[in-house]
Amino acid sequence: MTAPDDEPAEVALSAADVVAGYLPGVDIVNGCSVEVGVGELVGIIGPNGAGKSTLVKAIFGLVPVRRGRVELRGRDITNQAADQLVAAGVGYVPQNNNVFPSLTVAENLEMGLYLRTRALAERTAFVGELFPVLGARRTQRAGSLSGGERQMVAMGRALMMDPTVLLLDEPSAGLSPRFQSEVFSRVRSVNDAGVSILMVEQNARRCLQVCDRAYVLDQGRNAYTGPGRSLLDDPKVVELYLGTLAQA
C-alpha cells in the first residue's frame, strides 16, 4: 500500500479556503482546504453535519462557492458547470439517486460517456473489468438493482469518461458490511488503475484503512489531516470523531 508521508509531487485537484453553502448567508463549508495528489486516494471524514458532502458538491460546482478557489491541475475550475467539469476530467458519484432507474445498466454506462461516444466499447470493457457484476446485469434496469449494485453502476458511470479525478460521496452509505467491503476494495482498485480519488465517508475506520491520506472536517473547517493509518491512532481524532464508540 502506498502511503507517502511527504507532500505529493503533483497536485491533481486542490480546493483552497473554500466557503460554500446552499442558502444565502448560511455557510456550510467555512474555509476548507484539501489537496489530492496525482494517483492519491484521499478521504474526508468528520461528524454528521460537518459539511463533508457540501464540500465535495462545491468542488463539483453543484453548490455555489462564495470564496476560495478550486483548481484542477493548476487550472481554475471554481464554480464551473458540472457538464464542463466532466468534460475536463472530473467524475462525481452522488450519495443518493446516483443511477438512472429507468435506463438499463448498459445505458447508464453510456450516459456516462455522453460527451465522447467513440470510445464506448473500450471504456465499457475497462469498466466491465473493474466491476464484473455489471456485465451480467447489462440489460437490467438500474432501478431493479440492489443498493450495492447501484453503487457499482454509479461508479462505473463516472469512470466512463476516463476521469483523472473521481469524487465519491459516501459510497458505503446504506450498504451492508459485506457490500461495504466490496465497495471499498473496488474504490482501491479504481485508484490503483491510476485515478485520483477524493472520497467522503461516514464509515471513518474503513475509510482511514483504505485511504492514503485523510482530512477530518468539523463544523465546515479542516481539523486534522494526515496519512489514513496514523489518523486512526491519533488520540485527538479519536476524541473528536470516533468518539466513545471507538474507545470501546
Binding site: D83, F100, S102, M111, Y114
Partner: protein
C-alpha cells in the same frame, strides 16, 4: 467546450422562432387582403355550404328560427352551395333544411339531423353543416369518417343506421384507433416536456392548432413572405413545413419563456398557471390569425371509402393511421436506442445526475421542446386532415392528451402512446352506446376512473407516484 456547441444552436432556435413569427405575420396580412371564403364579415350570423360528395347544391332552402320559434331568415343556397343568414344577436338558433328542395337521390345521412340547434356568438358566423349523401340504395354510410372531438360543431356523429352492433363496434374501433394515434402523436411532447422539466403544459393544445393552421395557410393560401407570393403547397409539403415551424416554435418557447423561468427557479404550480395564460393568449392569437371557421385542406378532402369487411375507411384516413404509426415507432426507436433519446430519458429520470454525467441538460430540454413542438404540429395536421381545421382544435384535444399521458403513467413517453390510444378507442367506442356528442365525456370519465383506481397510470410503476 459545450458552450461553443450550444451558442449556434441558440441562435438557430431564435432565428427559427423569428421565422415562425414572420410567416405568421405575412400570411396573416395576406389572409386579410384576400377575399376569404371562410371568415365571413364579422357580423353575427349563421351560414354554411351545402354539398354532397364535394358537389355544391344550389337552391336548397334553409330556414333559421330563434328560441321563440320566430323565423329570423330564410335563404336558398347559391351556385357554390353557400348560404348565410344574419341573426340579430348572439344566442341559440334552430336551422332547418327543407329536404323537399334537395335534388332527387340526395338525402340526409341522418334524417334526425334535418334540424340543428346551434349557439351563435356575437360578432361571429356560426357554421352549420348538414351531412348529405347520395342515397343510391347501397346506404354505404359516410364518405368521410369524422373522429370529431366534441368541439361543438354541427357535424355530430354520422350514425350509420341498420348496421349490426359488431359492425358498428368495428367501425368505431377503426375511428378510435385513428383518433387515438393522433392523440398519441400530439401527447408525446406533452409527456416528454413534463418528464424532463416538470411542466404541466396547458398551452400544448395551441401547438397542435398552430401546426394545423400553418399547414392550412400554406396549403390553401400559398406561401407569402412579404411581397413574394409563392405557390400553394401540396398538403404533404405544407405539413412538412408546418412540422418544421412547430419545432421552431417549440424551441422559441423554451428559450423565450420556459428556460428563463426555470433559471429563476419558478415553482411548478406557477409555471402551470403561466402556461394557462399562454394558452389563452395563443388561442386568441390563432383566432385573430385564422378566424373561427372550420375549413378543410385543399387536398384529400373527399374520397371514396375502401371497404374491408364491415369497415369502410378512406385512403386518407388509412394514410393518417400509417403515418402516425410510423411516427410513433420512429419516436420509440429514437428514445430507445439513439444517444439523444437515451439522454432525454436520463434527464427525465434525474436531471441533476444527468448534468453530473456530462449531459448538457438545457440543450436536451431544448431538443425535447423541438421534438414536442414538431410532433404536436404534425398531429395537428393529421387531425386537421381527418376532420377540419379550427383554432380551438388543440384546446379541445388538450384534456384528452392529459388523459392519455396520465393513463400511461406521467412522464413516460411509451405510456403516453399507449394511454392515448386507449383514450381514442374509449372515445369512439363509447359513441356506439351513448350519444356521439357525449363521447368526450366518456373519455374524461375513463381518465378520472383510472386516476382513482391506478393513480400511477396503466403502465407506470407504483414508486413513481410516491
Amino acid at each position: 467546450m459545450s458552450r461553443r456547441v450550444r451558442r449556434p444552436f441558440d441562435r438557430a432556435a431564435l432565428a427559427a422562432a423569428g421565422l415562425v413569427v414572420a410567416v405568421v405575420l405575412c400570411s396573416a396580412g395576406v389572409a386579410d387582403a384576400q377575399e376569404t371564403t371562410t371568415t365571413a364579415p364579422a357580423a353575427t350570423a349563421v351560414g354554411g355550404t351545402v354539398k354532397v360528395e364535394g358537389k355544391a347544391l344550389e337552391g336548397v332552402r334553409i330556414v333559421v328560427t330563434d328560441t321563440a320559434n320566430r323565423t329570423v331568415g330564410e335563404v336558398r343556397t347559391d351556385s357554390e352551395g353557400v348560404w348565410t343568414v344574419p341573426v340579430p344577436r348572439a344566442g341559440a338558433y334552430r336551422i332547418t333544411l327543407d329536404t323537399k328542395t334537395l335534388p332527387a337521390g340526395v338525402r340526409l345521412r341522418d334524417p334526425d339531423r334535418r334540424r340543428l340547434e346551434v349557439q351563435v356568438q356575437g360578432g361571429r358566423t356560426r357554421f352549420v353543416l348538414f351531412g348529405l349523401t347520395r342515397g343510391d340504395g347501397g346506404g354505404d354510410g359516410s364518405g368521410t369518417s369524422v373522429p370529431g372531438t366534441g368541439a361543438g360543431s354541427g357535424t355530430g356523429g354520422a350514425r350509420a343506421g341498420g348496421l349490426s352492433l359488431g359492425d358498428r363496434l368495428a367501425r368505431a374501433a377503426v375511428n378510435g384507433l385513428l383518433f387515438g394515434l393522433i392523440i398519441a402523436v400530439t401527447a408525446i411532447g406533452l409527456s416528454l416536456i413534463f418528464g424532463t422539466t416538470g411542466l404541466v403544459n396547458f398551452a400544448h393544445g395551441e401547438l397542435v392548432a398552430f401546426g394545423a393552421v400553418a399547414a392550412w395557410f400554406l396549403n390553401v393560401r400559398g406561401l407569402h413572405i412579404g411581397p413574394l407570393a409563392g405557390p400553394r403547397l401540396q398538403l404533404v409539403l405544407a405539413a412538412l413545413v408546418a412540422v418544421a415551424l412547430g419545432g421552431a416554435l417549440g424551441a422559441g418557447l423554451d428559450r423565450g419563456i420556459w428556460r428563463p423561468l426555470r433559471r429563476r427557479r419558478t415553482g411548478r404550480f406557477q409555471m402551470m398557471v403561466i402556461s394557462i395564460g399562454l394558452s389563452i393568449a395563443a388561442r386568441q392569437g390563432l383566432l385573430i390569425w385564422f378566424g373561427s371557421g372550420s375549413p378543410k385542406y385543399r387536398d384529400y378532402g373527399l374520397q371514396r371509402a375502401w371497404r374491408f369487411g364491415p369497415v369502410a375507411i378512406t385512403p386518407r384516413d388509412l394514410a393518417v393511421i400509417a403515418i402516425s404509426v410510423v411516427v410513433l415507432v420512429g419516436v420509440a426507436v429514437m428514445l430507445r436506442s439513439t444517444r439523444l433519446g437515451k439522454a432525454m430519458r436520463a434527464v427525465a429520470d434525474n436531471p441533476d445526475l444527468a448534468s453530473s454525467s456530462g449531459i448538457n441538460v438545457p440543450r436536451v430540454i431544448l431538443l425535447v421542446w423541438v421534438l414536442g413542438g414538431a410532433l404536436a404540429a404534425g398531429g395537428g395536421v393529421l387531425q386537421g386532415s381527418a376532420t377540419s381545421v379550427n383554432y380551438l382544435m388543440g384546446f379541445n384535444l388538450l384534456l384528452l392528451m392529459f388523459a392519455g399521458v396520465i393513463l400511461g403513467g406521467l412522464g413516460t413517453a411509451y405510456g403516453a402512446m399507449a394511454g392515448s390510444i386507449v383514450v381514442g378507442l374509449a372515445t369512439e367506442l363509447s359513441a356506439v352506446f351513448i350519444k356521439p356528442e357525449l363521447k368526450t365525456v366518456a373519455a374524461l370519465a375513463v381518465l378520472i376512473g383510472v386516476l382513482l383506481v391506478r393513480p400511477q397510470g396503466l403502465l407506470g410503476s407504483r414508486e413513481r407516484v410516491a
